[in-house]
C-alpha cells in the first residue's frame, strides 16, 4: 500500500503517541506540526486533542495557527477532528465560559447534564449508530463500540450527524460535512473498529 501522508497538528493538548502509531498502523506517513505553513501545505490533516476547549483555543492562538486551520478546512481538503479536536471545529463552546471555535461547522458544544442520572465524564465503550452513509463507515458494522472519554458534546445546527451515540441524550459521535469529519470517540483507543475508521479517512 502506498503511504498516505497525514499531518497531525500538535497544539499541546494531548499525547500524540497513540494517534501517531494508530495512523502508522493503517499505512499513513505521519508528520507532526505546530506550524501554519505545514498546515497550509498539508493534503490530509488530523486535529486531535483532549482537555478543555478554552485552553485548546488559547494554544491554537498562541501558535498562530487559527487562520491556517480555518483556511485549510475551507479548502475542502480532508480534515478529521478527534474528540476535543472535533469540538473546536464548531462555532462556540460553553465549557467553563464561552469560547469561539474554528466555526468550520455551525453548532455549539454543550455539557452532558448530570440530572440524566448518567455519570460524567462519559467514559468507556459505547455504540455508534449509523444515521447516514459516511465514507468513514466503509466496511464497518452498524452498532459497533468505540471508546469515549468526554464531558461535552456537539449540537450541530445542520444535519451533519453521520453517527449517533446514546448516553442519556443522543449526541453526534461522527459528523461529516464535505471532507470535514469530526469524531467524538478515540479511534486510537477503539481497537480494530477505530483503526478501520482511520484507514477509511486515508481513502477520503
Amino acid at each position: 500500500m502506498r503511504a498516505s501522508k497525514v499531518t497531525v497538528v500538535d497544539y499541546r493538548t494531548s499525547n500524540l503517541l497513540s494517534i501517531t502509531k494508530a495512523l502508522q498502523r493503517v499505512g499513513a506517513e505521519v508528520e507532526l506540526t505546530q506550524k501554519a505553513d505545514d498546515i497550509a501545505k498539508s493534503d490530509r490533516l488530523v486535529l486531535p486533542g483532549v482537555g478543555a476547549f478554552g485552553a485548546a483555543m488559547r494554544n491554537i492562538d498562541s501558535l498562530g495557527i487559527r487562520e491556517a486551520l480555518v483556511a485549510y478546512g475551507r479548502s475542502g481538503r480532508p480534515l478529521m477532528g478527534i474528540c476535543l479536536g472535533m469540538q473546536v471545529l464548531f462555532s462556540v463552546s460553553f465549557e467553563q465560559g464561552t469560547y469561539h471555535g474554528l466555526a468550520l461547522l455551525p453548532g455549539e458544544v454543550v455539557a452532558f447534564r448530570e440530572d440524566t442520572g448518567m455519570k460524567v465524564p462519559h467514559m468507556g465503550w459505547n455504540q455508534i449508530m449509523f444515521r447516514k452513509k459516511s465514507r468513514l463507515f466503509e466496511g464497518v458494522r452498524d452498532g459497533e463500540y468505540a471508546y469515549f472519554v468526554h464531558s461535552y458534546y456537539v449540537k450541530p445546527d445542520e444535519d451533519c450527524m453521520a453517527g449517533a451515540t446514546d448516553y442519556g441524550v443522543v449526541f453526534p459521535a461522527v459528523v461529516e460535512s464535505g471532507n470535514t469529519f469530526g469524531i467524538q470517540f478515540h479511534p486510537e483507543k477503539s481497537q480494530s473498529f477505530g483503526l478501520k475508521i482511520l484507514e477509511n479517512f486515508l481513502s477520503v
Binding site: 503517541l17 465524564p121 462519559h122 471508546y147 481497537q191 480494530s192 483503526l195
Partner: protein, 277 residues
C-alpha cells in the same frame, strides 16, 4: 448503551508479568507487551498494569513497558504502582498511558489527586482502594485514630472504618480510614474512577465482595471497577448486576487461562449485560 468493561490486570515486576496470590507468592508468567497484545485480541476493553515493585531502578523499565505497549495495542491503558508525584504521572501519560492509578500516594497526600485532575483531567485519575473488612463490626470505629503519615487526609470528613478499612502499601498497612468515606473524599478531590479491590477476596477465586462494591457504588458518581475474587463466570455477573460495578477486573483467571475474556463477555451478553463483543 455504555458497555460494561472487562479488564485484565497485569502485575509487573522489573518488566515481567507476575500475579500475587493475596499479594504474596509471586509467579513469573510472561512479557507484559505480549500479554497485553494477547488480551487485546481476546477482546479486553482496557488493560491495567500494576507496577508492584516500583523501585527507583525499575521506573525506567516500566516506562519502557508502557511505551512499547501503547505503540502496540489500541486500547485504553491504565498504569498504577509507585506513582508519587505529578511528574511521575506526566511521565507515564506521556509514554502513552491513558490513566494513572494512585493508591498509597493518594492517602499520603490527597492533593496529588487534585493536582493530577487539574493538570490532566479527572478522566486520567483513578484512585485505587484496597479495602479489608473490619474484623469485628464496630471494633475500629470506637475511636478515631490517625495513622502517622496520613495526617493530610481529613479524618473528620473520611471517618474511621465502619465496616471496611482502607489499606495501603500493597495491602500491608491499615490506614485508619473508612473505605466508603475515603472513596467519596477521593472523588471530591478529583478521582475520575475508583478501582476497588477487596483484600479479603483477592486471590481466593470465591467471588467479588458484593457488599463492599454495593456500598461504594451507591455513594460515588464515578465509574467503579470491581477487583479481587473472580473465580467463576457468575462472579463477573454478580459484580455488575448486584454490586453495580461499571467494570470488572481480574488477573489470575485470565492469566492462567481459566477463562477467555470472550467467554466472560459471551456469558454476560447471554444474561443481558451490554458488552462489546
Amino acid at each position: 448503551m455504555l458497555a460494561k468493561r472487562i479488564i485484565p490486570c497485569l502485575d509487573v515486576n522489573a518488566g515481567r508479568v507476575v500475579k500475587g496470590i493475596n499479594f504474596v507468592n509471586l509467579t513469573d508468567a510472561g512479557d507484559p507487551v505480549e500479554s497485553a497484545s494477547f488480551y487485546e485480541q481476546e477482546g479486553a476493553d482496557e488493560i491495567v498494569f500494576l507496577d508492584i515493585t516500583a523501585t527507583v531502578d525499575n521506573r525506567a523499565t516500566m516506562l519502557d513497558v508502557v511505551r512499547r505497549t501503547a505503540e502496540t495495542i489500541f486500547l485504553p491503558l491504565t498504569v498504577g504502582g509507585g506513582i508519587r508525584t505529578v511528574d511521575d504521572m506526566r511521565r507515564i501519560l506521556s509514554n502513552g498511558a491513558d490513566k494513572v492509578s494512585l493508591n498509597t500516594a493518594a492517602v499520603l497526600n490527597p492533593d496529588m489527586v487534585s493536582l493530577g485532575a487539574e493538570e490532566f483531567g479527572v478522566q486520567c485519575i483513578v484512585v485505587a482502594i484496597d479495602a479489608k473488612r473490619v474484623p469485628m463490626r464496630g471494633h475500629a470505629s470506637d475511636e478515631t485514630r490517625m495513622t502517622p503519615g496520613f495526617e493530610k487526609v481529613p479524618i473528620e470528613k473520611v471517618g474511621a472504618p465502619r465496616e471496611y478499612e482502607v489499606y495501603v502499601n500493597g495491602g500491608r498497612t491499615p490506614s485508619g480510614f473508612d473505605a466508603v468515606g475515603w472513596a467519596k473524599y477521593a472523588v471530591s478531590r478529583g478521582a475520575g474512577e475508583i478501582l476497588l479491590t477487596s483484600i479479603d477476596k483477592d486471590g481466593t477465586n470465591s467471588g467479588y465482595d458484593i457488599d463492599l462494591l454495593g456500598k461504594i457504588t451507591r455513594e460515588v458518581n464515578v465509574p467503579v471497577i470491581a477487583s479481587g475474587g473472580a473465580g467463576t463466570l457468575e462472579h463477573f455477573y454478580e459484580a455488575i448486576e448486584k454490586g453495580n460495578a461499571d467494570a470488572v477486573l481480574a488477573a489470575s483467571v485470565f492469566h492462567f487461562g481459566k477463562f477467555k475474556i470472550r467467554e466472560v463477555k459471551n456469558y454476560l451478553a447471554g444474561k443481558g449485560v451490554a458488552v462489546r463483543l
